[in-house]
């Protein structure tokens, strides 16, 4: 009976999650491009050799990791403070909470287009303000050294609300008495943050980290619209490289290899950090 109830949902999840992974594994061992007439032909791991010596893949891996780490760290720090602000009793809190949630709810492409206008040089508001203040234009999105910072900023704006909400839920589980006792013992508010709030928020922070790192590692929409991967591929992510290979170069075999590799790297990173975290935990508890 239970089996029957579970069947349709499991079938759907298998088709749309498990099948693609298996398919990529298989396709990554085949050449399937315009040269082979888009028919898969076994090529003895040539895709994987090509991947290892493909500089663009490694650069994109670096860029993706850089983007993911910096945005998630900034989001966590900002989110803790915003959650603390929103936790205070205040009359308009409900409305403020709804408004801060808005960036998260908007389609990524919509807000990416908005940010492109904000970063626009010379007509965007940032450049105009800089001009009024008498500085030189920075034109952040067309500088290969700095364009990625623009993508991080837009991502932080968009996903901080999500992290904030989860941390806020965590903060609200911490009993008020703890702070009261800490204050009576002469503790300062800032050390209360370090000694009570953050340690007790750990499980919530961990959930955010897990979820946001995976999502940021797969960043696609935001960069596609904000910079298109440019200037000179300096903001291109792995997902975009896989997309370009499939849709522009019509090289499905190699595109599948890139996605399979991203998948393996992501899982390896999670296993690695899980082991490290539990080792650190053992050490601190011992």
């Amino acid at each position: 009976m239970i089996f029957l109830l579970l069947l349709p949902a499991s079938l759907l999840i298998m088709t749309f999650f498990s099948y693609p992974i298996i398919r990529y594994g298989w396709l990554s061992m085949h050449a399937s491009s315009v040269i082979t007439g888009l028919e898969p032909v076994y090529n003895n791991g040539a895709n994987w050799y090509r991947l290892i010596s493909d500089q663009r893949f490694w650069i994109d891996l670096f860029q993706t990791t850089r983007f993911a780490c910096l945005s998630v760290i900034l989001e966590l720090i900002l989110a803790i403070f915003i959650a603390l602000i929103l936790d205070q009793r205040w009359r308009g809190r409900g409305l403020v909470r709804a408004l801060t949630l808005l960036p998260w709810a908007l389609p990524t492409t919509v807000m990416a287009l908005g940010w492109r206008w904000i970063f626009n040089s010379p007509y965007g508001p940032i450049e105009q303000l800089i001009q009024i203040l008498g500085y030189d234009q920075i034109n952040i999105l067309s500088d290969p050294n700095f364009a990625w910072i623009g993508t991080v900023l837009a991502d932080v704006w968009k996903t901080t609300p999500f992290v904030t909400l989860i941390l806020l839920a965590g903060i609200q589980t911490i009993p008020e008495d703890l702070y009261e006792a800490f204050r009576l013992e002469g503790g300062k508010p800032l050390s209360a943050l370090m000694k009570i709030t953050i340690p007790l928020l750990q499980p919530y922070i961990l959930v955010c980290l897990l979820f946001r790192l995976a999502q940021a590692f797969g960043v696609f929409d935001l960069i596609q619209v904000l910079t298109g991967g440019g200037p000179s591929s300096s903001t291109e992510s792995l997902a975009m490289y896989a997309y370009i290979n499939a849709m522009r170069f019509l090289d499905f075999g190699y595109s599948a290899t890139i996605m399979m590799a991203s998948f393996i790297i992501l899982i390896a990173a999670y296993i690695f950090s899980w082991i490290t975290l539990s080792k650190i935990k053992d050490l601190t508890e011992a």
């Binding site: 239970i2 949902a9 759907l12 099948y19 909470r97 709804a98 990416a112 508001p125 599948a256």
Partner: protein, 287 residues
Amino acid sequence: MDNTQQNKRLDRSMKSILRQNLLFTILVIWAIGPLAWQLYTSFSTADALINPFNDVMNRWTLSNYKLILSSETPFWRYLWNSFVVGIASTLFCILLSIPAAYGISKLKARTSSIIKTVLFGVALFPYVLLFLALLEIARGLNIGNNLLALSIPYTALSMPLSLLLLSAAFKDLPFDLEDAAKLEGLNFFQRLRWVLLPLIGPSTASTAILVFLFSWNEFPISLTWISDPALLTLPVAISRIAGSSVYSVPYGAYAAATVLASIPLLIIVLIFQSQIISGLTKGAVKG
């Protein structure tokens, strides 16, 4: 003496209220500033765009909105397409998740916790990496350019989160409740319809909103499944606008498009704020 102390205290609480207001204001500006800028831009003439802070009196126009609403595929068409996909995937997903979530909640603790861990792992997966295989499915079955077909992958992709939320809701119901209903002689479907569903209503609502938001905002799969300009969903239509002319500056029209695209979500967020928040936090905490 007493008076000065009271004054001091009053002073301090005034200060803290002021500080709180200041923090709230900064927060609101940070959250909606970029959107407000879009709104401002969308009503500006092309000339005014070049001087964003000048000419306050003569900069206003509705021409940007007229332009995008009267183009070959009027903009409301994309809103409608996204709405259709969103509603269809939400319905499919809830209809399929409820029985499965009920099933999960009835499994042995060990099995159900394994299933939940797997589901959590799947929910973490950056689904954009699936687009190529899903595109092959669409081509193989010849179901590209079909909004209802597009809602099938959306249903599948939001299923893990939906199952986690709903099975937690079933688990929270009192244990004897169903036994009592069984003793009353209600069969499974009657129990579901009259006893269980009304009680998991709030969780179902949160789940439904989250699924709808996901489908409304999804980009990579819609980008590869739909090529007919009249069937584009909103996020893809926006990205097409963005890609069409990189070097000219039709930003007034862009801004009008982003404003129109944001309004439905603004309404959804204001109305369903508490459902969204409870869905997200429960998903995180129970997952």
